[in-house]
């Protein structure tokens, strides 16, 4: 439950701040929430990975599926892709990667000061 809660918080906080702040704010969000809510290293990495990855995937998918135009399809060849949907995947992977790294950094930051009794058991 704690893991799910953390993912939801990462998604929510990242979404709100990303509306105005630069893209890398999502790394900070994943970092902060993992610094505040203790859990194991793998758990922390996955919380950021899933949180940001999902957020970016869903946001990109909504635009991709709702657009009247075909910008995404036209950009795909620039990324050596055949179809626009590939860019949704790329976007999700990129978000997941930086989110995961942010989460893991947050976890290790917390460990500098606090020793959590729990190990990674909350999935």
């Amino acid at each position: 439950m704690k893991f799910l809660l953390k993912v939801v918080l990462i998604v929510g906080l990242s979404y709100i701040s990303a509306l105005i702040l630069p893209w890398w704010i999502v790394v900070v969000c994943a970092f902060l929430l993992n610094a505040l809510i203790g859990s194991g290293a793998l758990n922390s990495f996955l919380s950021g990975f899933l949180g940001i990855g999902l957020l970016w995937m869903i946001a990109a998918w909504i635009i991709f599926s709702g657009s009247e135009g075909d910008l995404v399809a036209r950009l795909a060849p620039q990324f050596k892709a055949n179809e626009g949907v590939v860019l949704v995947v790329y976007t999700a992977i990129l978000g997941a990667l930086v989110g995961g790294l942010g989460g893991l950094s947050g976890c290790y930051f917390r460990r500098l000061f606090i020793h959590d009794n729990t190990s990674a058991k909350y999935y």
Partner: protein
């Protein structure tokens, strides 16, 4: 241990994040910023309409402004007064075309390498050396003297800047995100740079230095034979036997002691095919007695298009037409009283002066029996990811020394100064402002009197049934042949002494023939009292248009549309019979007989489904290059004779230039025709093998419409449009009818317009290239000055509130 673990992971995190935030490689945007769905390219994939706000608060407006977009995203802007109107024009134009308008001014300012890096430094150097920014600064000075107009220009800039200021996260146009930079604020100076961008495109082509080399190598007789000032058979813009009702000025004393020089290199010049067609038919020629005006402008075809359609309304005036993003008002269009359009009025308004410096310091140069001081301008070029580059340009009273030992190559040890009308103070913006608000012929005359460069043939029609055309620009008063070759900067007699008064420029009002037309041809007959020269006057479209208009009666709008779509190949009509006549058809066999017969039976229509235009064009090009092989040289700038002068010699006997220099035998024209015909057949076989289909004009010729960044998926590789160079429907490989306008001066005035592009500058938008298909098929959008009355015609309404 914990500390090391933390540091290691956080350093990796920061490194990855920073790496994704900057542009690491050429052609690859900063990936994190670019892919993020809330600010990256995804935001540009949102729909055009859903991302428009219906109400926007703008403090500096005096009254509310309403903007209705129609179903093609053409805005109709309604304001209570002109300052608000032009503010809104700037705002709306920037909303759809910001990146393009800024990029075009960057070209003129020679500031592309700031964005693209060293690869574009050479382009920047040309434009700085040519002094486009110098001309824009001079134009700005005269614009400022006209305080009322300058205030409006400033409001246009304010409107652009209000849009730039309103950009939230994710709103930046796509190309900025791809190239990783941000827009600069707009200013009236940038509008002037845009005018110079157009001046360069339209008046920048000349061959004075190539002429100098040809004169030196072959002598004056050969030059005059191959490159006559005017060609027989062309129909001048002003109908022949016009009575010139003015006392001509005295032409300055001639001094034809030309500089005896070989010029080793020249810069790349704009396409001489940048031209246009326009014509107007009077009340006696049309079916319902209302004049009809037609205009199509031939420019490089790009996306976003150089044109943006709009309607501008105040309680006093309504005007519809084509604007150029970055320039205030409508450039070509109509209001309820008048319609106007332009073609390029070719004239040699660039001359070159060889400068004799006192010494290597270049602080002084000879002029008559005195020494004049130079001015040195150090141009600094910011280059992305590199150290800046510096270039010193020496200015004389003629203008900038474009060519010297530093440019374009070190082999050029002389200094050549450029004298160009586009450098002089001028107020072209005033012409368009007055035309937008004009009511009659007198207003039109008053408006175009402000117009200097690039010279244009302004065609005109009024609802009172007047029709007119004027060749308008600022033209130096030259002695015969002055400036056709390199001039001597030390000789005051070689300098331009004065200018032809505007009232002496050629014009015609309501001629007997009932029609007027221009297609970049020689403007007048031999009775005009002043010397006129250009390296490239048009020889084919003008004849076809003139013939057609002459023959037509009871003209309907559809006839004018058909004429804009006309694909009759006048060049082929004049040349092909000569070519076929001299070809010995008895020696032909197999496929070549078939090709010969097809050409013989061709009706000269350059339609996509025909094979004959493909045979002809290939054959012509091969013949042309074989014939004029003397005039291509890797180490010396030269020019080849024009097509019309090639045709002149096709039935000549013992023509010296027929010999191909690189071969041991001595060829004559019959040999060239035979060789080029055989070589054409080879090309066709090769083409058909590669393409695995039979050749046709539509298969051979493609007309590409490229995005300004040349990204293939943002471009149309083949619009599938008929026509070619020298044909009324002038669509060649990447050049052609950039817009087509037709206006009928009925009551109310009606218009039809189409251009190969779309109103939106965002690649992939529904409105990015939606007009290309109708353009290629010859369809038009009907337009009028009426306000949309039903919501059906309105896509979206936006209100700008004070």
């Amino acid at each position: 241990m914990k500390v090391i673990r933390f540091l290691l992971v956080s350093i990796i995190t920061i490194a990855v994040t920073v790496g994704l935030n900057v542009k690491l490689f050429d052609k690859i945007p900063p990936l994190g910023a670019f892919l993020e769905p809330f600010g990256g390219f995804w935001q540009n994939a949102n729909d055009e309409i859903s991302s428009l706000e219906s109400i926007i608060d703008i403090n500096s407006l005096q009254n509310p402004v309403t903007i209705h977009y129609d179903q093609h995203l053409i805005p109709s802007i309604t304001a209570e007064n002109e300052p608000d109107l032009y503010f809104a024009q700037g705002f709306v134009t920037a909303r759809h075309r910001l990146w393009q308008m800024e990029m075009q001014t960057r070209v003129a300012a020679g500031r592309l390498s700031e964005i693209f890096g060293e690869s574009l430094l050479e382009v920047d150097r040309i434009n700085r050396r040519k002094g486009l920014a110098y001309g824009a600064k001079n134009a700005l000075k005269s614009a400022k003297e006209d305080t009322a107009l300058f205030q409006l220009l400033q409001r246009y800039a304010d409107g652009v800047n209000a849009y730039i200021g309103s950009l939230g996260k994710g709103d930046l146009p796509l190309e900025y995100k791809m190239l990783d930079y941000e827009p600069e604020l707009w200013s009236p100076y940038k509008s002037m740079l845009l005018l110079k961008y157009m001046a360069d495109m339209l008046s920048g082509y000349e061959t004075d230095l190539e002429n100098t080399n040809i004169l030196k190598i072959w002598g004056k007789d050969t030059f005059d034979l191959l490159f006559p000032d005017r060609n027989i058979g062309d129909k001048p813009i002003i109908p022949t036997n016009h009575q010139w009702d003015f006392e001509p000025m005295t032409v300055p004393e001639a001094d034809d002691n030309y500089i005896d020089a070989l010029v080793s290199s020249v810069y790349n010049k704009p396409d001489p095919g940048n031209g246009s067609n326009n014509w107007v038919v009077g009340p006696d020629k049309t079916a319902d007695g209302a004049p009809i005006l037609a205009n199509d402008m031939h420019l490089p075809l790009n996306l976003p298009s150089i044109w943006f359609l709009l309607k501008l309304n105040t309680p006093q005036h309504q005007v519809f037409g084509a604007s150029i993003p970055g320039s205030m008002g409508v450039i070509a269009g109509f209001n309820d009283s008048i319609a106007w359009g332009m073609t390029n009025a070719k004239r040699d308004v660039i001359d070159w002066y060889k400068i004799n410096f006192r010494d290597k310091k270049k602080n002084e140069y000879q002029y008559g029996n005195q020494w004049l001081k130079t001015q040195k301008v150090v141009e600094k070029f910011e280059i992305r990811a590199e150290e800046p580059f510096y270039d010193t340009v020496v200015y004389t009273h003629y203008g900038p020394i474009v060519y010297d030992e530093n440019y374009p190559s070190s082999s050029n040890l002389e200094g050549y100064a450029m004298k160009w009308i586009a450098h002089e103070p001028s107020n072209e913006q005033k012409t368009f402002y007055l035309l937008n608000n004009g009511n009659n012929y007198q207003d039109y005359q008053q408006a175009i009197a402000y117009y200097q460069c690039p010279a244009q043939n302004f065609v005109f029609a009024a609802s009172n049934k007047d029709i007119a055309i004027h060749v308008q620009g600022k033209f130096p008063l030259k002695w015969p042949q002055q400036g056709k070759y390199l001039l001597n900067g030390s000789n005051p007699l070689h300098e331009w002494q004065s200018y032809i008064p505007f009232e002496h420029n050629p014009g015609s009002l309501n001629p007997e023939s009932g029609h007027l037309s221009s297609a970049n041809q020689y403007p007048v007959d031999s009775l005009y009292p002043y010397y006129i020269y250009d390296a490239y006057y048009e020889d084919f479209r003008n004849r076809r248009i003139h013939e057609q208009l002459e023959a037509m009666q009871n003209i309907e709008v559809q006839d004018m549309m058909n004429l804009q779509q006309d694909v009759f190949n006048k060049k082929a009509e004049l040349s092909l019979p000569k070519m076929l006549n001299r070809l010995d058809s008895n020696t032909l066999a197999g496929r070549s007989i078939e090709v010969y017969q097809t050409l013989k039976n061709w009706d000269y229509m350059t339609s996509l489904n025909k094979a004959a235009p493909a045979y002809y064009e290939i054959w012509w090009k091969k013949l042309y290059n074989l014939l004029w092989d003397e005039f291509t040289n890797d180490t010396l700038p030269l020019r080849q004779p024009e097509a019309i002068n090639t045709i002149r010699f096709l039935d000549a006997e013992n023509f010296a230039f027929a010999d191909v220099v690189g071969t041991p035998q001595k060829e004559n024209l019959d040999d060239l025709l035979r060789q080029s015909f055989a070589s054409m057949l080879d090309s066709i076989s090769t083409w058909e093998e590669t393409e695995t289909q039979e050749i046709s004009w539509g298969g051979l010729k493609s007309t590409a419409i490229q995005h300004l960044l040349k990204i293939p998926s943002f471009s149309i590789q083949d619009a599938g449009v008929a026509g070619y160079r020298n044909i009324v429907n002038a669509n060649s490989e990447n050049h052609g009818a950039s817009i087509r306008i037709i206006v009928q001066m009925s009551n109310p005035v009606k218009g039809w317009v189409i251009y190969p592009g779309g109103q939106s500058g965002t690649p992939g938008s529904k409105y990015y290239d939606n007009l290309i298909a109708p353009w290629a098929q010859g369809d038009y959008l009907p337009v009028s000055l009426a306000q949309p009355t039903t919501d059906e015609n309105i896509l979206f309404t936006q209100t700008l509130n004070p």
